[in-house]
């Protein structure tokens, strides 16, 4: 082992939370070492959106960019759920085993983290969704309210360059979005006519994608490829926003390919440093005055549990896991749409987002134009999924219907339960001997009811828009493929039932802080979490070292 100089703060994880925390700390003249287990990506080289076979590629994996995760057995699928069975007309059912397919946790390790492949929706929480226990008797209350978070939303939106509409209902603003909303795509306007027929509000989504030049970054050219990685730098991923801003202060050092494998605890309820594993098998100890964990709601609890259950005085580390509750429905419209053109998720309805907006079920959702996220952007995907069969009839149908697909999706509140958690796999370990994170995910009846509502509403919207020929449905009822995950180190006022306090600090460990989605006491009604993670991390960075 070798020793390093002591930093004011070491931040573990260079994604939405860690990058924002590092920036916030640098703004306060603190020296920051920002570590990430994954690599540095090169957008020009790594994101193959100019290649003819682009459709066959997901966001790239590089050595170290995908964490190894294990899963507890999937939930047994009971009851007939005709609206929720995943599959397409062209390929057939996705799941035939009778149990929920625990496919993958969609997480990126690397400088920029999961923001590298996120769509870039930029949402504030619904204020009422932060008071789920006191208002509705479920989940837990956030120990802060919307008003406390609002100034940090503003800071994050300014740095990222969020483009959004003048108003978003209950999400009041002290200042407008820094950039004007993007125009709706042709397909989004087709869906908008359906929304109008149903009496739904249908508005421009707020997006971390530039509608004009901002801080030297170019505007979006509406290629629709956000989820494959943005080679232009107009999408507001952390690697082109918070990280360069942190580096510009001269007080931040970034190290990729540096997995933290253990946190060291010392006297006086303080942690003293971290151990970092290197490719050659050596272990490096790095001392720090403050430690900020921002590895996401799966890897952060893993690291704490693997460090002799650090900060788990409440027993809540790893519990209250909330996954991504979502639905996507695709249908053919009589007229060509070519919906791959434009920003993914460019239009949204917040009508059912309030926690009491869905009749008979607590917890909200949003409905949106999912055409760009459907991965049905290329000809091959369309031919295989939307058009059944083979031979000449198939070829003729592909020619007839190419470009006619529209997708509508819903994302909803995921409520915590005692069966959903992250713990340490008892059998499997990484190359440093650290147990892997194991995800157990369970849907209770209210979650399934919310999924049914989202599926029905998505179908209604498609039909009202003229797209009545449904050819595929994908839902998290039978398919776990989460990207938004929360709750495993929840924050709260009561140290007996939460891991961190309102500032993101461990209730016991005075210099241990958490700045990622794991601190969310509730998931929100389908809001994309990155902006709230940024805002919470900026707020935490404001408080670090203030009361020691």
């Amino acid at each position: 082992m070798k020793n390093e100089a002591e930093w004011d703060a070491v931040v573990v994880g260079a994604g939405a939370g860690g990058a924002a925390a590092a920036y916030g700390l640098c703004q306060r003249d603190m020296s920051v070492l920002l570590l990430d287990a994954g690599p540095q990506f090169n957008p020009i080289v790594d994101y193959p959106l100019t290649e003819s076979d682009w459709e066959a590629h997901e966001f790239p994996e590089k050595p170290g960019s995908a964490a190894s995760i294990t899963f507890a057995p999937g939930q047994k699928l009971t009851g007939a759920e005709p609206l929720l069975v995943s599959g397409s007309r062209g390929v057939g059912p996705l799941v035939t085993s009778g149990t929920r397919w625990m496919e993958k946790y969609y997480h990126v390790r690397g400088i920029g983290g999961t923001t590298l492949h996120f769509t870039g929706e930029s949402h504030r929480m619904h204020p009422d969704a932060m008071k789920m226990q006191s208002r509705f008797g479920v989940a837990a209350d956030w120990p802060i309210d919307y008003a406390e978070l609002e100034p940090f939303y503003i800071r994050a939106e300014e740095l990222v360059g969020v483009a959004g509409p003048a108003s978003q209902g209950a999400r009041w603003r002290s200042r407008g979005f820094p950039l004007p909303a993007h125009p709706l795509s042709y397909a989004a306007r087709t869906l908008g006519r359906g929304a109008a027929a149903l009496g739904l509000d249908w508005q421009a989504n707020s997006r971390a994608a530039l509608s004009r030049v901002w801080n030297g970054r170019p505007p979006c050219n509406y290629c629709g490829g956000c989820n494959n990685g943005c080679p232009r730098g107009d999408k507001g991923s952390a690697d082109v926003t918070f990280i360069p801003a942190a580096l510009a202060t001269g007080r931040c050092v970034i190290r990729a390919d540096s997995p933290v494998i253990r946190i060291e605890a010392g006297a006086g309820d303080r942690v003293t440093g971290v151990l970092v594993g290197h490719a050659d098998g050596t272990i490096e100890r790095i001392a720090t005055t403050h430690l900020i964990l921002a590895c996401g709601a799966v890897e952060t609890p893993r690291l704490l549990l693997a460090s002799d259950a650090l900060a788990n005085e409440s027993g809540e580390v790893g519990r209250n896991f909330m996954d991504t509750l979502d639905v996507m429905v695709g249908a053919l419209h009589p007229d060509p749409q070519h919906a791959r053109r434009g920003l993914p998720s460019d239009a949204i309805s917040w009508d059912f987002n309030a926690p009491d907006a869905i009749p008979g079920v607590i917890g909200g959702c949003r409905i949106y134009n999912a055409s760009g996220e459907s991965e049905l952007k290329g000809l091959a995907g369309f031919a295989l999924r939307a058009v059944p069969g083979w031979g000449r009839t198939h070829a003729q149908s592909v020619r007839r219907w190419w470009g006619h697909s529209l997708h509508v999706g819903g994302i909803g509140e995921s409520l915590p339960n005692r069966n959903s958690r992250v713990d340490l796999d008892p059998d499997q370990r990484d190359r440093f001997g650290i147990p892997l994170a194991r995800i157990s995910a369970w849907l209770d009846e209210p979650d399934i009811a919310r999924l049914r509502f989202m599926a029905a509403k998505s179908r209604e919207l498609l039909a009202a828009s003229g797209a009545v020929d449904i050819f595929e449905t994908y839902t998290s009822w039978d398919w776990f493929g989460a990207s938004h995950v929360f709750g495993t180190c929840r924050m709260g006022a009561d140290s007996a039932s939460s891991v961190a306090n309102a500032d993101g600090r461990s209730h016991r460990w005075r210099n241990l802080w958490i700045a990622d989605g794991s601190v969310f006491p509730s998931s929100g009604g389908g809001e994309a979490p990155s902006l709230t993670i940024h805002a919470l991390a900026l707020r935490t960075a404001e408080r670090i070292g203030k009361d020691d």
Binding site: F59, K104, E121, R341, E373, A380, L384, W390
Partner: protein, 162 residues
């Protein structure tokens, strides 16, 4: 959020396929069988994605790309074995000895079959041959809006499709 449906289906399709890997390998993988498999896969691919206004999959060499996929070798061996066995039960030497009508009927039967090897094979073949066929530059050139997303993007994203 969702960004992985296309590839996830790809992965799901392989789940069953991997269960077949190595099974029956010794039964089918004998000298000379490679060529027979290649010819049968070529014939099947040509029927699945035939030429009409555009060149067909066989003409574009799509079968070669499928045959080059090492992870499909055993599924192909199993599947071709099923097609040959079915042809023999109808009095033919093998699948390739059937006329086009009988070959098409065999494909329909494979898609409808309860035999895991047969169904898995045609599902995988449809998927991978289709993926390669509809990604081929010659085919894509016949359809609008099939260029890569970058560097141009879509300046007409607000307009009716051209």
């Amino acid at each position: 959020m969702r960004r992985r449906v296309f590839i996830a289906i790809f992965g799901s399709a392989l789940l069953g396929g991997t269960a077949l890997l190595w099974r029956n390998l010794s039964l089918f993988w004998r000298p000379g069988f490679d060529l027979h498999i290649a010819e049968t896969v070529k014939a099947l691919t040509g029927l699945l994605f035939p030429g009409d206004e555009l060149p067909g999959a066989a003409e574009l060499g799509i079968h070669d790309r499928v045959l080059a996929m090492a992870e499909l070798r055993d599924a192909m061996a199993d599947g071709v074995g099923w097609f040959d066995q079915r042809a023999k039960s109808q009095g033919a030497a093998n699948f390739l000895a059937l006329d086009e009508s009988a070959r098409s009927a065999a494909i329909e039967a494979a898609f409808a079959s309860r035999d895991e090897a047969a169904k898995q094979f045609v599902v995988l073949l449809r998927f991978y041959a289709g993926l390669n066929y509809y990604s081929h530059p010659t085919v894509k050139a016949a359809f609008p809006y099939t260029d890569p997303p970058q560097p141009e993007g879509f300046a007409d994203f607000q307009d009716p499709p051209r």
